[in-house]
């Protein structure tokens, strides 16, 4: 028993090293908003870069709305191109945020506390980028409300047997719940900012956002109930969203799509890509803002382990696709694999195996997981790899299906790239504005962690109840 206590104490020490007090936590996190000097010059650079990207996106949207989706490379037989690739890629990236905030809360992993806030922000921004693509792909985004069931003069209803309509419900539910989860997590921190700031206008903005939160014990009681149950609801939600996205493919009869392994392997891939994106932002963030005390090497190490695990699941998925094709005896499936290995887009396929299958294996080495440069580079490969995965699945299956006479090729146009680059810029802009204007780390959960650390020091036993757990038992 005493070993267990010792372990718990060591873990808390590792998660929150240094001599922190409640006030110093407030200062370290809150001053990112209150003190402009804590933002390095590179912040302006990234916001400017993001702003340019966002404008390119706006121009692309304007041209698309004016001209129609013919400006993209989509054709017959490849009806789904960059738009759907990017949709799936972005939505996958979003999944790590929910995983960190909800799943890790439920399994009582306290290390989530210092990364959940910005991972959730990442989720919301990524889903915003994702949602744009199918919306614009409809060709007439101004009548996108036709997707929702509402009584109309045409007396028509959506076809609820179609995975595409499931997608509409899954993605709108997902962004609503993610935004709510993020917002209620922020309410107590907005109250802290309201009470800390001396700026008259800022304090009014915080006061409005905090909704008059006063930290009442009765409020906290209901707050924690709501937060924990919301986490419990988000966990199956996040699994359902990417499963439903994968059913967009798996329910069809296109070779390479009609496989039962898709839902779990899409979910694993989403987590894999999402953690890569979390690391992509966490590593520079903690360096530029001196947050080594809050986002520790231990955090990076654990994220790397999750990437390694989900990467293996994804790679298992790739291998099982090859196996299915051979074992099924279906010539079209076998032709598809042959096309992947040696066809016109074989380079993308082998790059995918390199990025997602081989390079992440370096994370087996503890030294690699502790080296931020290695972690950052591996994360970039994974992001590229997960994009390639969707390229391999979507155009490579569509361009050669059952009838050789209807085969074709897919070439993305300038506008495909401008949309892709545009959403990346938009995402970067939102992330950096978020770093500047919203508490980037959950202040009250860090205080809770600190309280446990102080308490465990005082009376020699750790209090392993995490935020959201029912106390007093």
């Amino acid at each position: 028993m005493s070993n267990l206590i010792k372990e718990k104490q060591d873990e808390l020490k590792e998660l929150l090293p240094g001599q922190h007090s409640y006030t110093s936590l407030d200062d370290q996190i809150g001053s990112l908003i209150l003190d402009n000097k804590r933002h390095p010059k590179v912040w302006y650079l990234f916001v400017a870069f993001g702003f340019i990207g966002a404008n390119i996106l706006l121009m692309s949207i304007a041209w698309l709305v004016f001209q129609g989706i013919g400006i993209w490379g989509n054709n017959q037989p490849v009806g789904w191109g960059f738009d759907i690739i990017n949709f799936v890629w972005w939505i996958g990236i979003g999944h790590a945020g929910t995983l960190i905030s909800a799943v890790l809360l439920l399994v009582r992993q306290q290390w989530r506390n210092s990364i959940n806030r910005f991972a959730e922000a990442m989720t919301i921004f990524a889903v915003m980028c994702a949602g744009l693509y199918p919306l614009l792909h409809t060709g007439r985004p101004w009548v996108a409300y036709w997707l929702f069931p509402y009584p109309n003069i045409l007396a028509m209803w959506p076809q609820f047997r179609s995975p595409l309509i499931w997608d509409v419900f899954a993605v709108t539910t997902y962004i609503t719940i993610s935004a709510l989860f993020w917002f209620i997590g922020l309410i107590p921190d907005f109250a802290t900012m309201r009470d800390k700031t001396k700026h008259p206008i800022a304090s009014r903005i915080w006061a409005a956002l905090a909704l008059g939160w006063r930290g009442s014990a009765k409020h906290w009681h209901r707050y924690e109930q709501a937060y924990l149950i919301l986490a419990g609801l988000s966990t199956p939600l996040v699994l359902s969203v990417h499963s439903i996205v994968s059913l967009d493919f798996a329910v069809s009869i296109v070779p390479g799509w009609n496989v039962t392994v898709f839902p779990p392997y899409f979910v694993a891939g989403a987590v894999f890509a999402g953690f890569a994106m979390v690391l992509t932002f966490a590593i520079p963030l903690r360096k530029w803002y001196g947050l080594h005390d809050l986002i520790t090497d231990k955090h990076l190490d654990w994220m790397a382990k999750i990437m390694l695990t989900t990467g293996l699941i994804v790679f298992y998925g790739y291998l099982s696709e090859v196996f299915y094709a051979w074992y099924s005896g279906v010539i079209w499936e076998q032709a598809l694999i042959q096309n992947r290995f040696f066809g016109p887009y074989a380079a993308a396929f082998w790059a995918l195996w390199l990025c997602n299958g081989i390079i992440p294996q370096i994370l087996w080495f503890p030294k690699a997981r502790k080296n931020v440069v290695v972690l950052f580079v591996v994360s970039q490969f994974i992001s590229v790899g997960m994009w390639l995965e969707r390229f391999v699945i979507i155009p490579m299956s569509l361009h050669r299906d059952y009838l050789p006479s209807s085969w074709g090729m897919y070439t993305p146009t300038f506008w495909d790239f401008s949309f892709f680059f545009g959403t990346i810029g938009f995402f970067i802009m939102l992330m950096f504005l978020f770093f500047r204007f919203v508490p980037v780390i959950n202040i009250f959960e860090m205080k809770d962690l600190l309280f446990k650390k102080l308490e465990s020091k005082e009376d020699g036993h750790a209090a392993p109840v995490p935020v959201g757990g029912k106390g007093g038992e």
Binding site: D26, L180, L211
Partner: protein
């Protein structure tokens, strides 16, 4: 609140007890707060609330506050969401707009599961957030307790206990009690709603 009006303790001695919100004490540590709550209940104080920068586990139990409205609201909202979601699909696919797709049954329920599921989660999630806010009486930009001296620290590093006024409440006794509890300061708080963030 942006401008907590600092008033010296005992500045107000109201004869009219209706004008008193309660007697509030400030503590440095959560442990002191929990002890004070437990002993306040033993001393016969029934109405109280605590204010802290983070949730303190065991405090609800110490206050004997066992509210379960939020979980029930979430459960029923989830049930309603699921039923509405499934009924909507049944109505559209079977009654109002029946479409024969390859001879499959009109009520092809397995393909209705995803939307039913999503609408369940959506309604439950909305109930979790808005139910929590509603039962907590938020948003509420003005509240008497905001005029407690130093109350801005309740969201930072201090822990407050407020023994609330009610018929038969003895403010002097409450003050004496709180002073004996290792509080760093004790003050009487007016019932007028303070902390006006628009000022």
């Amino acid at each position: 609140m942006p401008k907590v009006e600092i008033r010296p303790a005992h500045a107000h001695h109201h004869e009219d007890s209706d004008l008193l919100y309660g007697v509030c004490a400030e503590f440095n540590a959560p442990g002191d707060l929990i002890r004070a709550v437990e002993q306040a209940r033993e001393a016969g104080f029934t109405q109280m609330d605590c204010f802290s920068p983070f949730p303190i586990h065991g405090l609800s139990d110490a206050m004997a506050f066992h509210d379960v409205k939020v979980p029930y609201a979430i459960f029923f909202a989830g049930c309603i969401g699921g039923i509405v979601g499934l009924s909507l699909q049944y109505y559209t696919a079977v009654i109002d707009y029946p479409m024969n797709v390859g001879g499959r049954p009109l009520f092809s329920w397995p393909s209705f599961i995803p939307v039913t599921y999503e609408s369940t989660i959506l309604c439950a999630g909305l109930a979790a957030v808005f139910g929590m806010l509603a039962f907590n009486g938020l948003p509420k930009p003005y509240h008497p307790v905001f005029s407690t001296p130093n109350f801005g620290r309740a969201s930072q590093d201090k822990f407050f206990l407020c023994l609330e006024n009610h018929p038969g409440f003895d403010a002097n006794k409450a003050e004496e009690f709180l002073k004996s509890m290792n509080a760093t300061q004790v003050s009487r708080v007016d019932a007028e709603e303070a902390g006006d963030w628009t000022k």
